[in-house]
Each structure stands twice: as structure tokens, then as C-alpha cells.
């Protein structure tokens, strides 16, 4: 029955996505909302059994649920946000086709249990997002598109080779050693854009069309943290080293923010920092690692999407992305504060994620000092950014409600979820 649901929902979404190329936002929104149907697949369901590849199974368990739910929720918010922005870009309606398939790829990245199919989902996400950057990006968009495509392919292919070399394609029985284990890890880290393999990220996330940035940065790269957490036991990665590496990434990404004059690039650097926190979280053992990662992922996703959507409002209404020119009125300042405070972890869901991250810190002074610096620096750059925007001064900016409401909702969600956390916990 569940396989029928999967096929029916997928067929409907694909049909609607094709329709959206003609009809636009309404079809795209319905297609994205329909993805909720996948949440019904609460048991492991085999779709097919293929020679060499093995069982192709799908599953939405409690561990996958937050990642899929956040992907769909943000996919929907960004879809509703996009029309005016696309009008500004003079983009054709086929944007929505690629957009819906891109959101669908998020669900597929997580829902598949077969790692070869996870790779295929990654490919779907790369191709759809690459097309959007190539045709609708900013600046030297073709160059940036190529940089993104090549790095993303390198990451995915290393992941695939590692999985293939391990000989274990199913996530539930995954085991890898030596080179295979290393390649899977490297593939995941390249996709996440962590320290040393982060160079592509600020280009791609800043120059992508903003509705794409609002999914690329908050969701796409973060989803790989799930696989880092899921595969770490089978791959026997050195988790303490990963924890420290994640913290170093968080510090490095935070410092990079201070070089930027452009809000989208600053937000992209901030993503590097947050991917660092996610790597550290995913390397923690057991349920603690999962909870920390899921909370940090969710908190970051909504806040970062709000940040990018805010930058989109500025691009459309006052035609600038320069931090020192982002004048504000009360509604925009409200979103700015909600966004950057949530990202900083001084309040909101990320505060809890950071606290959980501290539970797992190795008990030695060097690790504690690194964590202290990481927690501080990830708060520091956010207040630096909001301070810079604040100092631009007030002005009349008439943000259209169709862009503003999804942005505000996304910015509010980290706080609403913090308030609901005790209930969700239960």
C-alpha cells in the first residue's frame, strides 16, 4: 500500500510540476503541499528489487520526519514568496517546474534507504538547482553555475564511489572501512561546504536567484548532516576529530562573514559556520547527536531562509544587496532581528541546539575552549550584521505582503518551535 502511495504522490507531483511550467505558482504550491503525502509512509516499504543495486526501499521514521517536514514547509513558503521575485527577474514559468523538482529532491534525499538512490536524488537536486543558477542567477552566473555543478558533482560522485566500494548499499546495514569510508565522508563534507571544501558555497549561494538561495543554504546542504549522523556508526569515522573539525568550521565561517559587504554573501558564509555546528552535532553519539542535529538543522533552516527572503525583499524593492544600504522600516527590522537573533542562538531553537552541543563536548580544556570560541563567534557575527543593518538607518520601504508574510512566518518559526518544544518532545 505504501509503495502505491509513493508512486501516486510522485506521479501527481511530477504532473503538477509539469503543469506549473504553464500555469505557474498555484500548481507549484499544490505540488509542494502534496509532498506531505510522503509522511504517510511510516513503515519501510520496498519499491523494487534491482540486480546489483538491491532493495530500493523508502521510509519516513521519526528520525527522518523533521528533515522532510522542514523541507516541505520551507519549499511551500518559498514557493509562495517567489512570484513577485520572479517577476522582478523576468523569469519564465518553467522556473517553477525546476523549483518543484528541486524541493522533491530534498524529500528523496532523505526518504530513500538505498544509498545509490540517495545519490540519484542528489543528482536531481544538483541538476535542477544548476539550471536555476545558470539561467536566473546573478553576476557571472554561468561561471558560478559551473563552479557549483563541478563541486557538487565531485561530492556526489565521491559519495557514490565510496558507497559502491563499501558493497553495502542499504543504509540500515551500511558498513565501510578504509578508502570507501573516507570517500563517503569526503563526499558528504564537500556537499555540506565545510572548512577546506567550502570555497564553492559563497559563490553559489550568493549568486543563485534568491528563492533558490532560500532553499539551497537552509535545506540542501544541511540535509547531508542526516546522512553523516546515520552512516557514522557503520563507517566508523573518527567522531571526536569530526566534532572538533565542525567547531573549527563554525569559527572559520563566522570570521568570513566580516569580510562581506553583500548580505547574501554574508548569509552564505554564515551557512558554512552553521554546517560546522551540524557536523559537530552529527558526530555526537546516540540520540543526543540526533536531537542536537535535528534542532540545529531546523533552527538554522527557518532563520536562514528568512534571511535570504529578506535580502530578496531588498533586491526587489530597493535594488541593493549591500549591507550598508539596507535601510529599514519597522516590519523589515522586525524580520531582521528575528532572523539574526535566531541564527545567533541567543534565543530561539538554536539556543537549545547549542546547549545540547555542549553536552557532548569532550572533557578536555582544548575542546572546551574551541567550543567556547565557536559558540561565541556564531553569536558574534549575527549581532555584527544586525548592527550594520540597523546603522543604515530607517526609511520608507514598502515591502509587498506576498513576499513579506512568508518571510515573517519563516523568521517566527524558530521561536514558535522553541515554545512548542516541550510538547513536541513529549
Amino acid at each position: 500500500m505504501y509503495s502505491d502511495i509513493f508512486l501516486a504522490v510522485t506521479a501527481l507531483i511530477v504532473a503538477l510540476s509539469l503543469l506549473s511550467a504553464k500555469r505557474g505558482v498555484l500548481s507549484a504550491a499544490v505540488a509542494t503541499a502534496l509532498m506531505v503525502g510522503y509522511l504517510l509512509i511510516s513503515q519501510r516499504t520496498t519499491l523494487a528489487s534491482m540486480p546489483y543495486v538491491g532493495e530500493v526501499a523508502v521510509l519516513v521514521d521519526l528520525h527522518k520526519l523533521p528533515f522532510i517536514a522542514v523541507s516541505i514547509a520551507l519549499g511551500l513558503l518559498v514557493t509562495l514568496y517567489a512570484p513577485r521575485y520572479l517577476e522582478h527577474l523576468k523569469a519564465e514559468r518553467w522556473y517553477y517546474l525546476s523549483h518543484v523538482l528541486y524541493v522533491l529532491s530534498f524529500v528523496f534525499i532523505v526518504i530513500f534507504e538505498n544509498l545509490i538512490f540517495v545519490f540519484l536524488a542528489l543528482e536531481l537536486s544538483i541538476i535542477t538547482s544548476f539550471l536555476l543558477i545558470w539561467y536566473f542567477g546573478y553576476g557571472n552566473r554561468r561561471m558560478v553555475g559551473l563552479i557549483y555543478f563541478i563541486w557538487a558533482q565531485v561530492g556526489s560522485i565521491l559519495f557514490l564511489i565510496g558507497v559502491a566500494a563499501s558493497g553495502h548499499f542499504d543504509a540500515s546495514t551500511f558498513q565501510a572501512t578504509g578508502l570507501a569510508s573516507l570517500l563517503v565522508l569526503l563526499g558528504i563534507l564537500i556537499k555540506m561546504g565545510t572548512l577546506g571544501v567550502h570555497f564553492w558555497l559563497p559563490y553559489a549561494h550568493a549568486e543563485a536567484p534568491t528563492p533558490l538561495s532560500a532553499l539551497l543554504s537552509p535545506v540542501h546542504v544541511g540535509l547531508l548532516a542526516y546522512w553523516l549522523w546515520r552512516l557514522k556508526d557503520g563507517a566508523m569515522w573518527p567522531v571526536e576529530v569530526l566534532y572538533m573539525y565542525g567547531l573549527a568550521t563554525a569559527i572559520y565561517g563566522s570570521i568570513l562573514v566580516f569580510r562581506e559587504v553583500d548580505i547574501k554573501r554574508a548569509l552564505a558564509d554564515s551557512t558554512i559556520a552553521n554546517m560546522g555546528l551540524l557536523v559537530s552535532a552529527a558526530s555526537l553519539g546516540g540520540e543526543l547527536g540526533y536531537l542536537t542535529m535535528a534542532i540545529l538543522f531546523t533552527g538554522h533552516a527557518f532563520a536562514k531562509a528568512a534571511g535570504f527572503m529578506l535580502s530578496g525583499i531588498y533586491i526587489v524593492h530597493i535594488h541593493t544587496r549591500l549591507l550598508d544600504q539596507l535601510k529599514w522600516n519597522t516590519p523589515l527590522l522586525t524580520v531582521g532581528i528575528l532572523t539574526f537573533v535566531a541564527l545567533s542562538g541567543v534565543f530561539g531553537l538554536t539556543l537549545v541546539g547549542k546547549a545540547f552541543l555542549a553536552i557532548g563536548v569532550p572533557h578536555d580544556a582544548a575542546a572546551v575552549l574551541l567550543l567556547l570560541f565557536a559558540l561565541f563567534s556564531t553569536a558574534l557575527y549575527n549581532f555584527y550584521l544586525i548592527n550594520r543593518i540597523y546603522r543604515s538607518g530607517p526609511a520608507e520601504v514598502n515591502a509587498s505582503s506576498d513576499m513579506y508574510i512568508p518571510t515573517l512566518l519563516s523568521a517566527l518559526l524558530p521561536y514558535v518551535l522553541l515554545a512548542l518544544l516541550p510538547l513536541l518532545w513529549r
Binding site: 570555497f199 546547549a355 553536552i359 580544556a365
Partner: protein
Amino acid sequence: MALELLILAAYLAALLDIAVKRGVGAITAATAFALLHSATSPATGLFRLGEIERGLVLFVSLIYLTISIYSIFYAKSIERRGWFWGWMDVFYASMLTFITADHWVLLLVGWGGLDLASWGLILTYREEEDAGRVGLGEGAWGIRWMWTPSASALRAILTVEVGTAALLIATGQAAAGTPYISQWSALPDLAAALVLIAAFAKAAQLPFTDWLMTAMSAPTPVSALLHSSTMVKAGPLLLLKLGPLMPHWAAQVAFLVGLATALYGGLVALAQREPKVLLASSTASYLGLITAFALKNPTEALWLIYAHGVAKATLFMAVGHAIHVNHNRTPLEYPLASKIAMAVALATLVGITPLGALAKAEADWWLALFSTLTSGYVGRLILKTETVSDWSPLAWPYLALAAVGSFSVVAMPNLLWGFSLVGLSLAYLPPAGALYRRLGLPVLYDLLVPKAFHALARFVFALDRFLDRQMFRAQVLWDSLYRGVMVVERYTDMWLHGWIPESFKRVSLSLSRRRFEYYLYIAGVGLGVALYLTLWIWIR
């Protein structure tokens, strides 16, 4: 009534006040807590409401109620009233959360809420409003002595975030066993050290003191609340909460740092020209004393919290009255009401009112040094300024607080503490330049730390740019590879489609020119004849 609902209502009051901009939510929430503090209890294990917590809830609520009533009049001159009231309510609700939390995450939520609300409140005035500035604008010691609200807010949040990061790690380590603070066992040394850093940063202890001075960019009612019963008081309250878990050495460290700050704050206050900065230094000084005793003598620390809270809220509101009347942040004329209230507050701090007596009940005599300094700097406000008659409604809340707060407990003061009032003569000493410059501490935050950070950042930028360029240079490698492949391709092509067929053709032509078939014919016939002859000889 469930405490959880009341706290939630206190947070929701912020939304109400943002909308109505009049403090209706603030007064309602504070009144509700003041009336229900003994009738309420937690419905879950997330909060704990013992005797000490109930006392603190009542104390914070009464102070907040008084300041809210005062602010109804004061805030008329504030442009962003919704902003002001909203953050004030978050401030209050966060303090209640912090005080009553027994679950470590809620403790952090309260703690973080205080950081955030103080940041927001410091930003209340617009950048260009003089009321929101701290410092007189002169250049000295390598920096400009002027801080706008945004600069002050950034300084405040970044300094206290050092403490918050430390607290996250300390409590995270402690919570590995159980999330409930009341069930925690002794903290390891590293966690205890982090708790001390957190408490010191929040309570503006050395070397984290200077954010408190520039936080004076906030409107005066904010200062009254921040310095009396919220924010800075969370530092020593954290030590009181975790005191039984702290190792012995932590009490010594807290004592030394606290005393050093008390002395620093007391001396610096003597030389300040802006009354709000003077009171901020005084707060650092008293927070130093409270921190010093928080682990050594918690009872004395608790009474100091009450006495200082009442006195400091009174002093700030009184100074605010003068600022309001003069429309100047360095007023020369003070209303008579404010001087009366300041005198009562001074008496409480010195220890000669019933409330002050309780705070001094177990105090050693050497503490008279700090009371003497207090007399000196509060004396400057009372004695070295003109007096005017202004009995506007602004006066009544702080007069009531001074009177009721200082005399509502039953205790007999030891009038010998009154000798500290000899310190009033210090008010007539000329202020020392180095003390006015706060012994150079702002230089650390405005010059040295930013320079060090920029150096680190520049190194990171250079490294990143270098590696980034290398990545683009990879394109040269790609081009070389491409050209190499093209060369190989061309030669292979030439081999396969040029040289090899051409060679075959040439060999073939050469062979054909040599009439190979004729020779083959001759060779074949010859071979046949030879074969025939061989067979013939063999048979015969």
C-alpha cells in the same frame, strides 16, 4: 495558579504592550505576580519555587511594577514606545524564568532572554538622539569617548555572550546526567570555572565591566530595572543557585574578583561626570560585593541584592527625573523629591535604614570603605547640584519605593555604619582624570580587542583568498589537460587516419611497382618443379 501560565502571560504581555504602547501588560503582569507569588506553584517539574525564589519573584515584581508606573510618565518622551515596552516585558519575563527554572534549558532561555532584552532596550533611542549617547565626545587614549545606542548595544551583547557561551558549556556538562538543576551533583573544576566566567560577564565584574557603563544609552527606566533587579543580578543569582555544587576554590576566586570590582567601581564612580555612568559604576561596585559573598555567605549576598535593588532603582529613577526636567543627560538641577529619595537610598546602601541594616547584619567592618565611597559619589549628586521644585507624577513611584522598600522590614540599624557618611566629603574632591577614564578599560574593548580580532580576521581572509585563487588556478590545470588531450587526440587521429593508412598505401604501391605477382608466379612454378623433382627422386 500554575507558575508556567503566569510566566507565559508575562511573555505575552510583551505582545500586548507592543500593540498598545502604554505598559498595560507590564503593570498587569507585575501586579499579578506580586499578588499571586505565594499562591502560585509550578505545575511541572520544569520550575522550582522555594522560599528564596518566592522572595525574589516578589522583589523583582514590585520593582518592575514601580518602574512601570514611573515609565508611564517617563516614556512619553520616548519615540519608540512599543519597542520600549515590548522589550521591558521580555526582560521581566526572562528574569522570572531564570529565577524559577529548575530545568537547565529553561535557565538558559531566561538567561538568553535577558541578554537579548538588554540589547533591544539599549537600542531604544535613535542613533542621533543625544539622550541615547554615553560619553562627552572627546578623543583620549586612542579612542573617542562617545558611544551611540548601536555601539553600546553591540558592546553589551558581545561581552555578555562570552558568559552565555561559557554557561552553555558548563550547564551542558552538568546536564549530561539529569536536566534538573536541583538533582545535579558537584560540578567539575572546568565547569565551575565556566560558571564563574558566566556570572562575572553578566554581573559586569572585571574585566567585563565596561559594557555596563555604555549600556547607559538606554532610557533611564531601563537602567533602573537592569541595575536593580534584572540582568546584572542574574550573575550572583547564578552563583547562589549553583553555590552548593561549586568547588571550594571558586568562592575564593569570586571573592577576589568581586572585591577588585567593588573597589574599581567605587573609585571610578567618584570621578564620573554623567550621573547615569556614575550610578553604573556604583552598580559594578555593589555587584562586586554581592559576587564576593555569593559563595562565601549567601544570606548576606541575598540581603545585599534586595537592599541594593531598592536603592539603585530609586537612584536611577531620581536621576531620570532630573534628566527629564533638564532635558539633558548631565543635569545640573535636581528636583527636591529626587534628592530626598537619593538620600534615603544612600542611607539604605550605607546600612542605616531597616533594609540596609539587614544587608549589613553580618558584614565585616572593612566594608565601611565601600560605604564611604558610596557616600562620596551619591553625595556628588545630592550636594554638588542645584535644587529645584518639581513634584510631577514622576516623583511618586520612586519616593514610594524608597520609603516602603527601605522601611518595610523590621530591623534595628547599627548606627555606627552612619560614620561612613563622612565620605560625603569626597564629593568635594576634584575628580581624577584616570578614574574618569575608567582606568582605561574602554580602551580594551574599543581598541585592543577589535585590533586583535581584525588581525585574526585579516589572516583568515588572506588565507581564504589565497586558497580561493588557487581554486580558480585549477582552471589553468584543466586547460593544460585539455590542450594535452587535444595534442594526443590530434596525433592519434593522424596516426589512425593518416600515417597508418598512408604507410599501408605506400607499401602496397611499392610492392605493386615491383611486380610481385610475376615473381610469385616464377617462385610458385619453381617451387612446383622442385617439389616434383624431389618426389620423383624419393620414389625412385
